[in-house]
């Protein structure tokens, strides 16, 4: 499948409503496993449906390779049945009046393939998804997870160049979800399809995707590899949306309200001289360490005094809640904590762990490099 390109794609459902998706530029390359990630109502489903052609555009265009499949100003609209894409619905949308086998076979019949080839392909996907034994049942006789696999099989059978999946795992229990994740990853390798996967579950996105596109309120916030998204969030929204427990944000908005904030401001002023208009700084919980004595705090790191107000085990990991006068910081560790609630400790974070954002919440990339160089010098 050639690259899919959305340019300025826009969707507005009603005359008086806000844009469900506005001015979206997105490139989905061949073989990519892309996750659309974002909070509920941010326009993920809408985006997917626009790509599939189930939703027409209010503006912009969509290209597949060099071919324009959807363009408002050009008056082009290629209907979904001609786009050769696969879409697995969140509700599965199996055809209740057809058996599992006929459900899987449906698309192949439409393509008028010879019977032998049809049977072979149906067999192959049914085996791959382990649903062959239900071939003569009707969808209502299957469990949610099994229906889910039929919905996938039905789309894989036609061997689409791109497979669009709308929160396909959200109705499954935790164990089945894990299995299906592994299954999807395997299918991605085996069938070599491009996959666009919608989810609001960040772990799902992190574990599956080769590329993640984070959306909020109809606009694209950042696109990049999972590591990019996590380690170099493009703005405060991405930083705060990805990661659990969420990133610690020190907001420089009102000076003097909190001594950690003041400390951070002083620290950055010292390490990033000349860099103005810093709006806030973020530190991931796992980047924060703690120590009982000043000697144990690594030199050059950003640090301060706090009280431990909570020790929360999460099964293998621990979350520490640290309180400095009127600011709470979270840190996570996988080493059993050696402190009690109420203990006074020092927290610290290495300079390269600080995410610096400007007043509008955008990441200041320049700060990254300079902080990293600080780190290596120490």
């Amino acid at each position: 499948m050639p690259t899919i390109n959305l340019r300025g794609a826009q969707k507005n459902y009603g005359v008086n409503s806000a844009n469900a998706v506005s001015d979206l530029d997105l490139e989905i390359r061949d073989g990519e496993f892309m996750c659309l990630l974002g909070p509920s109502g941010c326009g993920k489903t809408t985006t997917l449906r626009m790509i599939a052609g189930l939703e027409n555009l209010s503006g912009g265009e969509i290209r597949v390779g060099d071919r324009v499949v959807d363009c408002v100003s050009g008056g082009v609209f290629v209907p979904p049945e001609k786009r050769e894409m696969g879409l697995v619905f969140q509700s599965y949308a199996l055809w209740p009046h057809l058996t599992i086998e006929r459900n899987t076979d449906f698309g192949l019949r439409l393509r008028k393939l010879p019977k032998a080839e049809r049977e072979e392909r149906v067999e192959r996907v049914m085996q791959a998804l382990d649903i062959a034994k239900y071939r003569d049942r009707y969808p209502s006789q299957l469990s949610g997870g099994q229906q889910q696999r039929v919905a996938l099989a039905r789309m894989l059978a036609i061997n689409p160049g791109v497979l669009l999946l709308d929160e396909p795992l959200s109705n499954l229990d935790a164990r089945l979800r894990l299995e299906m994740r592994a299954e999807l990853k395997r299918l991605h390798k085996e069938f070599k399809t491009t996959i666009v996967f919608v989810t609001h579950d960040q772990w799902e996105a992190m574990t599956l995707a080769t590329t993640i596109a984070v959306m909020n309120e109809g606009t694209l916030q950042q696109i990049g590899t999972p590591n990019d998204i996590y380690d170099r969030p493009a703005n405060r929204f991405v930083a705060e949306f990805v990661g659990s427990p969420p990133i610690n944000i020190l907001d420089f908005g009102d000076p003097g309200t909190s001594d950690v904030t003041d400390k951070a401001e002083a620290y950055l002023a010292a390490h990033l001289p000349g860099l103005r208009s810093i709006g806030s700084v973020g530190i991931r919980p796992e980047a924060i360490g703690y120590a009982a004595r000043t000697e144990d705090v690594p030199e050059g790191s950003f640090s301060g005094e706090t009280t431990v107000t909570g020790v929360l085990p999460t099964g293998g990991n621990w979350i520490l809640e640290l309180r400095t006068d009127n600011h709470t910081l979270f840190l996570t560790t996988h080493v059993p904590p050696r402190v009690e609630q109420g203990a006074r400790v020092l927290f610290f974070a290495p300079p390269e762990a600080l995410h610096v954002f400007d007043a509008d919440g955008r990441r200041i990339a320049e700060a990254d490099d300079r902080l990293r160089s600080t780190a290596t010098y120490n």
Binding site: G8, D25, E61, P80, E81, H97, G107
Partner: protein, 616 residues
């Protein structure tokens, strides 16, 4: 300049396509809308229903204000010119009392009487069935609905069989035959009509009020009681106010039904010249008073529309109430204690009066030579299967009469054709209403197919007569043909058919179809392999329900049918007119049996609740 436009282009290329102009956006939307036949089908069906529903109504209203054939001389105007003569004649002239005002008063008084009576009986029965431990309440829950499955004038015929006196010719009534001459007020007119309509529409109350009672959350009752309210306080201050929408709604529905009811007042009112609006309309049409008929039909429609608009308001109000109750926390029963048996006795009496007695009377009348003489030699099957009877016309038993079979065949073809067509059209309308991207079309289709619901059948039939009695444009005169009956029936049934179609399509959702679209199926393929197969069940209901209501329907046919296009209902009415009582009763029994069995089969097939098909 050139430089500037070059750089503008570069910017546009970098930022993707420029924002579309209004014209481009419009062209794109048009393209998307016309890509599939949905919109085209929508436009075609919209046109069809405009012609079948809106135009006849407009035509009859225009008739009311235009000079008709035969009146040119008197009004010294040409045919078709504007005139207020008919309006004046119906509403203000010396004959207006006979034509309109007295029938109107009679209609209102009969309807009010029927409403009151059925409310009293119906609410008690509804409560007994749904909230008490009365004996046999499950059985009664079905049995007491039966009167509604039978044509109303079945009861009218049973009544005349019992109470007829010498005012009318033919076989004497049973009471007369045993020497007790019933007075006119008991035999004909307001009293029997009211009673019969009340019994016929009591099931409405039982269904509507009963379902409201069942939905009622008993926690509301309990909380009141915990706060110290006594039984009667709870009933008056909590239950009654919450039940009010259901009660009002059944009142309004019964009124609308009474307004269009023709058979009962025709059979029971005619002998004593007791006229209601529908019979007055019938008389005007029969005497070719087209203009007058237009005014009366228009008035009936107006009253009908107002009534149902009120109902729509009430339903909306009721919905507000429904959200209060949490579901499922009901079904607590009051213990009747010593009253258990008397309560069941009451229900049984109502059943006997409204189903048992009428049907038994009708049946006995068809196998007895002389009325009310219960000796063995008086029983005969001649009226069913006899040959060479000494009657003037109908010389064989009814089952051997070719007229019956002709009427049965007509019924099946006309009603069958109309039901199948309206079932399919209903599904199509549902499809378009739900799927078309053109909102206006969706709204219009929904409204126009609902319109006949607001117009009593008899007025609608009059409208058809007005439009199709003479050739217009390419359309030949249709009066006297099967076509006019089929068309009128289709239009008349569209409210139910389209509502069924819309709700079926709403339930289906768009996912299965979109999934097929993704799999590569074009429109036609999606219809034939996805939509229609999945909707098979609702299509069957959409055909069967109109079929049953068509079989027992009378008011449309009585105006539009001629002897050669007789259906079972009009045939039996013709037999009544000729005083072939036994034969008429036999035909009515056949109709009742078909309607009853049909309803049962539909319910079994679709596992639907009758309450949903209530309006039909």
């Amino acid at each position: 300049m050139a430089l500037l436009s070059e750089s503008a282009k570069a910017v546009a290329a970098a930022n993707g396509p420029a924002a579309p102009t209004a014209w481009q956006a419009w062209r794109y939307r048009l393209k998307v809308a016309l890509r599939e036949p949905t919109t085209l089908i929508g436009v075609l069906t919209a046109l069809l229903f405009t012609y079948l529903i809106v135009v006849p109504i407009i035509s009859i209203v225009l008739d009311a204000a235009r000079v008709q054939f035969g009146h040119e001389r008197r009004l010294s105007k040409d045919v078709g010119e504007f005139t207020l003569y008919y309006l004046d004649r119906v509403l203000f002239s010396p004959v207006s009392a006979d034509l309109f005002w007295r029938p109107l008063l009679n209609t209102l008084s009969v309807a009010m009487g029927a409403i009151l009576l059925s409310l009293v009986i119906g609410t008690v029965l509804a409560w007994l069935i749904s909230r008490t431990d009365m004996f046999g309440r499950r059985w009664f829950a079905t049995a007491l609905i039966v009167p509604y499955m039978l044509p109303a004038w079945t009861f009218a015929l049973a009544w005349t069989t019992l109470f007829k006196n010498r005012t009318v010719g033919g076989q004497p009534g049973w009471l007369e035959a045993v020497g007790l001459t019933p007075p006119d007020w008991l035999a004909y007119g307001r009293f029997p009509i009211t009673i019969i309509l009340a019994l016929h529409y009591t099931p409405f109350v039982i269904l509507l009020f009963g379902s409201a009672l069942r939905r009622f959350d008993s926690q509301l009752e309990d909380s009141a009681r915990i706060l110290g309210a006594r039984h009667h306080q709870v009933a008056l201050q909590i239950i009654l106010p919450l039940m009010r929408p259901a009660l009002l709604s059944s009142m309004v529905l019964i009124f609308a039904k009474c307004l269009g009811e023709f058979g009962v007042p025709y059979v029971l009112g005619l002998p004593v010249k007791f006229e209601v609006l529908s019979t007055s309309l019938f008389r005007s049409i029969a005497s070719r008073q087209t203009g007058v008929a237009g005014v009366i039909a228009g008035s009936i429609m107006l009253i009908g529309i107002i009534t149902l608009l009120i109902d729509a308001r009430l339903v909306r109000e009721a919905r507000r109430f429904v959200t209060i109750g949490s579901k499922g926390s009901m079904d607590r029963q009051s213990r009747l204690g010593r009253m258990r048996l008397p309560a069941a006795g009451f229900a049984a009496t109502v059943f006997l009066m409204s189903v048992g007695l009428p049907l038994l009377t009708l049946f006995l009348s068809t196998i007895m030579k002389l009325p009310a003489r219960f000796t063995l030699d008086n029983f005969t099957l001649d009226y069913w299967i006899g040959r060479d009877l000494d009657t003037v016309a109908l010389k064989t038993g009814i089952l051997l009469s070719p007229d019956l079979w002709a009427a049965a065949k007509n019924t099946l073809t006309i009603v069958g054709l109309a039901s199948v067509t309206s079932g399919i059209l209903g599904l199509l309308v549902g499809y378009v209403v739900i799927r078309t991207p053109v909102r206006l079309l969706s709204v219009y289709l929904r409204q126009v197919t609902f319109l006949p619901y607001l117009v009593p059948g008899i007025a609608f039939a009059a409208a058809y007569l007005s439009l199709f009695a003479v050739p217009r444009g390419p359309m030949p005169a249709l009066y006297g043909t099967v076509v006019i009956l089929v068309l009128a029936l289709i239009a008349d049934q569209m409210p139910y058919a389209s509502r069924a179609g819309i709700s079926a399509m709403t339930q289906l959702g768009k996912d299965p179809e979109e999934a097929a679209q993704i799999a590569g199926a074009g429109w036609l393929r999606r219809m034939t392999s996805i939509v229609i197969p999945i909707q098979k069940g609702s299509l069957v209901t959409g055909v069967l329900l109109p079929f049953i209501s068509g079989i027992k329907g009378l008011s449309l046919f009585v105006i539009l049918a001629v002897p050669s296009t007789d259906v079972l209902t009009t045939y039996s009415l013709r037999l009544v007119d000729y005083h072939y009582t036994q034969a008429a009763n036999a035909v009515v029994l056949i109709i009742a049996a078909i309607a009853y069995l049909g309803t049962l089969i539909t319910q079994k097939l679709t596992r639907t609740n009758l309450a949903e098909g209530l309006g039909s």
